[in-house]
């Protein structure tokens, strides 16, 4: 089957569909109880991008944390994200509690990242990629939390 035939077939599935009942009365009742958010000063795009970058860094670091044992001796880790560097700089050399501290710091970073993404979503509720990023960040938070309890 050609691409054209396939798309033609799929058109059968598309198009508007009317709901089985009028949803407006329920919506009207809900919006009468929910105030509209006033227009706020927009976060500059770079602020949203920074939040996303922080989240990406934290997610990357947490992923690395799950896949690499944290060394007890000082060593150079091939990690280039600002978040990861900041977290690792907080680790005291030869500290027997270092892994726990790294996990705690990673958890803090992920919490901050999650908050940043939620704030960005408030500004851009139509940005689907932020939802996906938030979901990934929350999954990583959960994993780090589990690892903390296990360790």
């Amino acid at each position: 089957m050609s691409e054209f035939e396939w798309r033609n077939g799929m058109r059968k599935v598309g198009g508007p569909v009317e709901p089985g009942r009028d949803l407006w009365p329920d919506i009207a009742a809900k919006i009468s109880a929910v105030p509209q958010e006033k227009r706020r000063l927009r976060l500059p795009t770079f602020a949203i991008a920074a939040g996303v970058l922080v989240a990406c860094g934290a997610v990357l670091f947490a992923w690395q944390l799950q896949n690499k044992p944290v060394p007890q001796q000082p060593t150079t880790l091939a990690v280039n994200t600002p978040v990861s560097k900041r977290v690792i700089n907080n680790v005291v050399e030869n500290d027997e509690h270092a892994p726990r501290k790294v996990l705690a710091n990673a958890s803090d970073e992920l919490n901050d990242a999650s908050t940043s993404i939620q704030q960005a979503l408030e500004q851009r509720p139509d940005a689907v990629f932020l939802v996906n990023l938030l979901n990934k960040t929350n999954s990583q938070r959960l994993r780090v939390m589990k690892k903390s309890y296990a360790g």
């Binding site: 035939e5 799929m10 599935v13 919506i27 958010e37 227009r39």
Partner: protein, 192 residues
């Protein structure tokens, strides 16, 4: 609200021009619920249809999420900047609402994708498949593959848009689409 007022509102938005929509959005942003109702009536079919396909034709769930999407749109109208079409903004917001719900559901139910793939069985050739058969087959696809298939093949999004919005590589989007089409063909009785 009396019926005559409702009829007037509906008739004014049957074939809305962009300037009409823009005026309605501005009035709704200022708290005019009549204007928002007109926007709702103009867009509900497309929004409900998209959400319905994303939630595997679960009508009750789609109605609930459609309500949620419009309530969110009402709350967030202040953030709409009139730089893009209102319909595009609303559509994205609705897809966002549905994807958030899908993610939550997947975490709580821990759906087994392999089981879902096996469930996508059937013997109807694609070319002869009726809309109901197609909808059923699409609804039985694994959630992520279904989302990519619906957004690409039904809603007309490009892989670049899907990859940006769903946070996946373009290659992953293409791979998911290929997988979804293969499963759909199998479900409809055509060899992949």
């Amino acid at each position: 609200m009396d019926g005559s007022a409702l009829r007037v509102n509906i008739s004014t938005v049957e074939t809305p021009r962009e300037d009409t929509v823009s005026a309605l959005v501005r009035r709704a942003s200022a708290g005019d619920t009549r204007a928002f109702e007109a926007l709702y009536r103009d867009h509900v079919g497309r929004i409900y249809g998209t959400i319905l396909r994303l939630v595997a034709m679960d009508r009750a769930r789609a109605e609930e999420l459609t309500q949620e999407a419009f309530v969110r749109a009402w709350q967030k109208l202040g953030s709409f900047r009139h730089e893009s079409a209102f319909s595009t903004w609303l559509h994205r917001l609705s897809v966002n609402t549905a994807l958030m719900a899908l993610r939550g559901k997947r975490e709580t139910e821990s759906a087994d994708e392999e089981a879902l793939e096996l469930a996508a069985g059937g013997e109807i050739p694609f070319c002869a498949a009726e809309r109901g058969d197609l909808e059923r087959a699409v609804s039985e696809l694994p959630p992520r593959a279904r989302a990519v298939l619906v957004l690409h093949d039904v809603e007309g999004w490009k892989h670049e848009e899907i990859s940006a919005e769903l946070g996946m590589a373009v290659g992953s989007s293409k791979a998911q689409l290929h997988r979804a089409r293969g499963l759909l063909r199998r479900a409809l009785g055509e060899a992949a």
